[in-house]
């Protein structure tokens, strides 16, 4: 019985299952080839590099599920990164308040996106193109030059293993307590992403609002006729997207101890987030997929570039090879077209 439900789960989430498999193969191979593979140091480095893009990809997932695109996610990440670089210092209470305000900034920005899309009746892609430029402008206003003074210990503790976190803040006997041993080598950034995914994304997905987001992406007309709260779901989706982007910006500030209103970087993150969403099995047409898939997609995106550091590949050929691998990976998702019984299925 369980076998059957597992089988059905996989076949209904083909894209997601392929992504997980691909990630496992790529990541295990990478670790086997790395001189210090399967060590905590490598895992910490890898997860640090992945957090920002993972959060931004999760942010992108929600508008994509609605059948749209959000071109402001990278800019919102940059804006919140700059906000955080101003606020994350002082006493512990001030730091916590700063984190709260940073997340609030992104959430409010997402809410604004949602309101514009719903009540302004503007296509998400155009609305967010404009609001993205606004976010970038605000970021430049806050931080005309890169800089900032994020608390050093906070940066060190949250970008390392659980042991270092305990060691820095002196709890659990400085990390040597017996009950901490099983978790001591896990990277903190990995736990942070997992925490947000489990305690923010999963409850949202299960709620009526969350299910409405999927329904809108599948067939907005049918969702409307079924009496689902369309406007509320759209606004909630963009707001949650803003929150995820703010998580990315906050982590970036903690990781780099600074803020940088880098326009190119914001653009690169927006584009990469779309790639990660697709890699994770979410359809650009909306209605299927999820933020966990995008998380996996972001990891795949990063693992591909990890290979350039352990293999001898000509530096000027690397972008070409990265593009080819990416294209191949995305094509895995298209295999379903080979198996459809009725071509009309493709136009679903």
């Amino acid at each position: 019985m369980q076998m059957v439900s597992l089988k059905r789960g996989v076949s209904q989430n083909m894209g997601f299952a392929t992504a997980v498999l691909l990630l496992l193969v790529l990541y295990l191979t990478y670790n086997m080839m790395h001189p210090r593979g399967f060590s905590s140091a490598v895992a910490i480095q890898n997860s640090n590099e992945t957090v920002a893009i993972a959060f931004v990809a999760m942010a992108q997932t929600l508008p994509v599920l609605l059948g749209g695109l959000d071109l402001s996610v990278g800019a919102v990440m940059t804006l919140t990164n700059c906000v955080a670089s101003l606020l994350l210092n002082g006493s512990p209470a001030q730091i916590l308040l700063g984190m709260g305000l940073t997340l609030l900034t992104g959430t409010m920005f997402g809410l604004m996106n949602g309101l514009i899309v719903v009540y302004g009746r503007i296509q998400p892609i155009i609305a967010t193109l404009a609001t993205g430029a606004i976010a970038m402008g605000l970021a430049l206003l806050i931080r005309p030059q890169p800089g900032g003074n994020v608390d050093d210990d906070l940066g060190w503790a949250l970008t390392n293993s659980v042991w270092d976190l305990a060691d820095t803040y002196g709890f659990a006997d400085g990390g040597d307590a017996w009950w901490l041993r099983p978790f001591a080598d896990i990277p903190v950034p990995f736990l942070l992403v997992l925490f947000v995914a489990i305690f923010v994304w999963l409850p949202f997905r299960r709620s009526v609002t969350g299910r409405t987001v999927y329904a809108i992406g599948s067939a907005e007309g049918a969702a409307y006729m079924s009496g689902l709260p369309i406007n509320r779901a759209k606004i909630a989706a963009f707001t949650l997207g803003g929150f995820f982007a703010a998580c990315g910006g906050l982590y970036l500030a903690i990781q780099t101890s600074s803020g940088n209103a880098d326009i190119q970087q914001a653009g690169a993150y927006t584009l990469n987030s779309i790639a990660a969403v697709v890699l994770g099995g979410t359809s650009l047409l909306g209605g299927t997929g999820g933020a966990i898939g995008s998380l996996i997609g972001a990891m795949i995106l990063r693992v591909i570039s990890f290979y350039f550091r352990i293999l001898d590949i000509d530096p000027l050929l690397q972008p070409l090879i990265e593009g080819l691998v990416l294209l191949t990976a995305v094509s895995f998702g298209a295999f379903r077209t080979l198996r459809v019984k009725n071509q009309l299925d493709l136009f679903r």
Partner: protein, 378 residues
């Protein structure tokens, strides 16, 4: 509320913490090794000394943005220099990666190379801030990190650059000298600036304007933004000529081939022009010097990567090194140009001519770099 309280208590312990034992370089007094090549930036520059390591070394170059001629030439120079007989034996493994303009990816790549046990990492930073964590890790693992070109706002690592302020001053000094030689001590000059918000643009412009101020002449200044790009510079200079008429000199800091091309297209009289070290600019200067294009060409050299590699190896060998290394400005005036020596009429316009630094024993000529095919170096 209770969890918040707990978290707050945990965080307040932060004041008591930070008992990390850090290794890393020792701050010593100068002078450093090979001072003709590794010149300290100023008199207050600190000196570093790492514990000597046995060679040969594993060295990685972590580039950020790739996709303009300068960066590509820099990568080719790095590969060519790694094969140079003078240092080939000292390098066991050499790797170059480009991460794009993505700070986490660049930091990740640096950390990855530290994890892999590399001895030195050369980098062009995508941001002047944010490297605290990797510097801490590098010090812990006795890895030498050398940012160059776009350097960091920190004095905790050894860095290599050219003095951009001095470059701006040299541009203006030469142009004013040429103007004085034809009897002009005041007049109208056009400044062509670089990428806005960039510290290199800022410093070069400050240098240029300082010299103009100090000269005491009455200089009417027109400023346009050329983004260091030939196309953009050509357009804005053409516009400036159309609006303001004739200029007595142009003080450009990049995109200079385009600047001179705009002057030629507008049939503007040839005037002194300062500019970067693009091959195209030098070609045009050589052809038009006798008509009055008595310019100066000073460039930020892609060869800085070679000096950074050399500095990293010197540091790994246990030599005393300045914290901030000022590489001498490679300059050529109109009367010093010689085809096949400091410009190449058979190479493309966007090739950067300055690659050789004799005091550093870095002698990779332009054609040698351009002939460096992709298949040559593994």
């Amino acid at each position: 509320m209770k969890t918040l309280l707990k978290l707050t208590t945990a965080l307040s312990a932060l004041v008591l913490s930070a008992n990390m034992a850090l290794a890393g370089p020792e701050v010593v007094s100068g002078p450093g090794a090979n001072p003709e090549c590794f010149a300290p930036w100023s008199e207050t520059t600190k000196f570093f000394k790492w514990d000597a390591k046995e060679g040969p070394y594993r060295i990685a170059v972590v580039n950020g943005f790739v996709g303009n001629t300068w960066r590509i030439q820099m990568i080719k120079t790095a590969k060519a220099y790694a094969e140079d007989p003078s240092i080939k034996d000292k390098i066991k493994e050499f790797k170059v990666v480009s991460t794009g303009t993505d700070a986490p990816a660049q930091l990740g790549a640096i950390e990855d190379f530290i994890n892999q046990g590399y001895d030195a990492i050369i980098t062009i930073a995508v941001s002047p801030e944010g490297f605290d964590r990797v510097i801490r890790l590098a010090d812990k693992n006795d890895v030498v990190i050398v940012p160059f070109d776009n350097v960091l706002d920190t004095d905790k690592v050894m860095q290599v650059n050219e003095d951009q302020l001095a470059m701006g001053r040299a541009y203006a000094t030469h142009v004013l000298k040429e103007l004085a030689a034809i009897g002009k001590t005041s007049g109208k000059v056009l400044e062509v600036r670089g990428l806005a918000g960039n510290s290199v643009d800022r410093d070069r412009s400050i240098g240029i304007n300082e010299v103009l101020d100090e000269s005491g002449g009455n200089w009417e200044r027109v400023s346009v933004v050329g983004n260091w790009d030939d196309g953009t510079a050509q357009k804005v200079v053409a516009d400036a000529i159309a609006v303001h008429g004739e200029f007595d000199a142009v003080l450009a800091q990049g995109g200079t081939t385009g600047v001179v091309q705009a002057l030629l297209d507008a049939e503007h009289p040839m005037i002194p022009v300062s500019g970067e070290a693009e091959n195209g600019f030098r070609k045009l200067m050589a052809a038009n010097a006798d008509k009055g294009l008595k310019g100066i060409s000073i460039g930020q050299s892609p060869g800085l990567v070679a000096i950074s590699m050399k500095a990293a190896i010197s540091a790994l060998e246990g030599n005393v090194m300045p914290q901030l290394i000022s590489v001498p400005l490679p300059m050529a005036t109109y009367d010093e140009l010689e085809d096949g020596k400091n410009y190449w009429s058979d190479l493309p316009d966007n090739f950067f001519t300055v690659n050789e630094f004799p005091p550093c024993d870095v002698n990779i000529s332009g054609p040698a770099i351009m002939s460096q095919s992709e298949a040559d170096v593994k």
